[in-house]
Amino acid sequence: MGKVVLEVKDFSFRYRQTKQKAIKNISFQVEEGSFFCIIGANGSGKSTLCNALVGLIPHYFVGKMSGEVFVNGMKVEDSTIADLSAKIGLVFQNPFNQLSYTAGTVAEELAYGLGNRGVSHEEMVKKVEYVAKLMRIDHVIHKNPLELSGGQIQRVALGSTFIMEPRVLVLDECTTQLDPLGSEEIFDIVKSLNQKGITVIMVDHEMERVARCADKIMVLDGGEIVAIDIPERIFETPDIVKHRIGVPDYVKICQSLREKGYTKREIEIAEEPTIELVKEALKG
């Protein structure tokens, strides 16, 4: 196992206004540079966990917390959200609510967090240029963010988070409100960031995408961890549907073909290998 970048130890949390714990005593570790996906039905505690990783819990949301979260060895409870932003960043669902509303242009929006840190103007311009290119928004950098499409605004949000130079990105259903093209663009970018060594923690509903991207998947149900494993083993487990999550089409095809004896191969979790498997089975 490589270097651990994120560690959650016996963590529980209950929001002040609810009776039930949103997260019940969970522990896990995430390796540096990995692509870690969290899945589970609505209300299973995914968003709460995301908020805890970036320090919004306990510093922004009020409630009863126990256990510990460490990001890069830094204890979240003892740090400020602003300090944590240099280690871990969060992008969530609604693109419009991730604008600072202090910027007349995309460039200013990207620079907002740097300004709060007191970064010099020269450095700011350099970083904005670099991040805008990475996010493929360099052509709209002088436009008002509100004139952009939802997908573009979400890339501005991702850029504004990434410019703070976190080593870990937490994506909480950040493509739910986008169309397929907009979602794909975000994923391409996220994948390229992951290849550059950024650790990605992603919550997503689309199982095909999760299966394709994830090094490891964690399944949550009712605030508890029910499984952490590589995608193949997660989706192979027949019981997994009990936790109200879907299984990728690829897995269903492979399993049906195997049950009927048309193939002996292990299940596949991506489009191309599944097509190969089916072609092979067709030849008999």
């Binding site: 509303y101 509100l146 004139e147």
Partner: protein, 263 residues
Amino acid sequence: MAKISNSFVPKDTIIEELNPMTKILAVFSLGLGTLIFPNSWLGLIIIIGLFFVAYLAKTLKDFTKIMFGFGIPITVMLMFIQGCYSPKNVTIIAEFGFLQVGLEGVLYAFKIISTLLVFLGTFYIMNKTTYTGKLVAALTNSGLPPKAGYLVLASLNVVPQMQRRMEVIQEAQGARGVEIGGGIIARIKAYIPLLGPVVMSALTDAQERGMTLETRGFGITGVKQTSYVEVTQSNLDRILKAILILFFIIVVILTVLMKLNII
């Protein structure tokens, strides 16, 4: 989709290049100068000067519209009220049937009008030629707390999105059988169902926006904030600032001397 309208449109003029603080200084120096000066001649000269500045700022047409659009009705109104009914009236300069127009009232009205127009004109030119981001950056540089700067910018920028949201909510209520058109009472009744979603969505949005700001270091203390928008101070700014300050001092001295009947 509706385009977002911004009151500032870049036009590449000398006035636009000026440091926002110079313009703020101009608003106060000229405005207050006119206010304290005993008669309205100074105001009149400044107003004529402002038309020239508006010309330099390539906004003469709109500026003229605003000045006359506001100036004419206010002049008529104040002239009537002050000219005919001011208790200061002693010297009667004209009579229309039962109405008597007094000189003192007319002069007083002139004074108010010129002061208002100087404030309006300078403020209008500043607003039209200054990008809000630059204004706030300049204010922050000069020591305005970042949170105050944020309030100014965010409240300006959030309005168009709120408007869009209002429209959608209105449509959603129409689809639930609420008549949007009709008489005043029907309209007021129709607005009640709109308020709930507006307030609720504002609350949820505020929470998420708060999260965003926090994760971008809004709460950092002890750091001098920097800004992407560059605010420079040219020699022209320095000269203008000196002139504006000098102008105000001279006006104060002149006023004092005139009040003491020395000149």
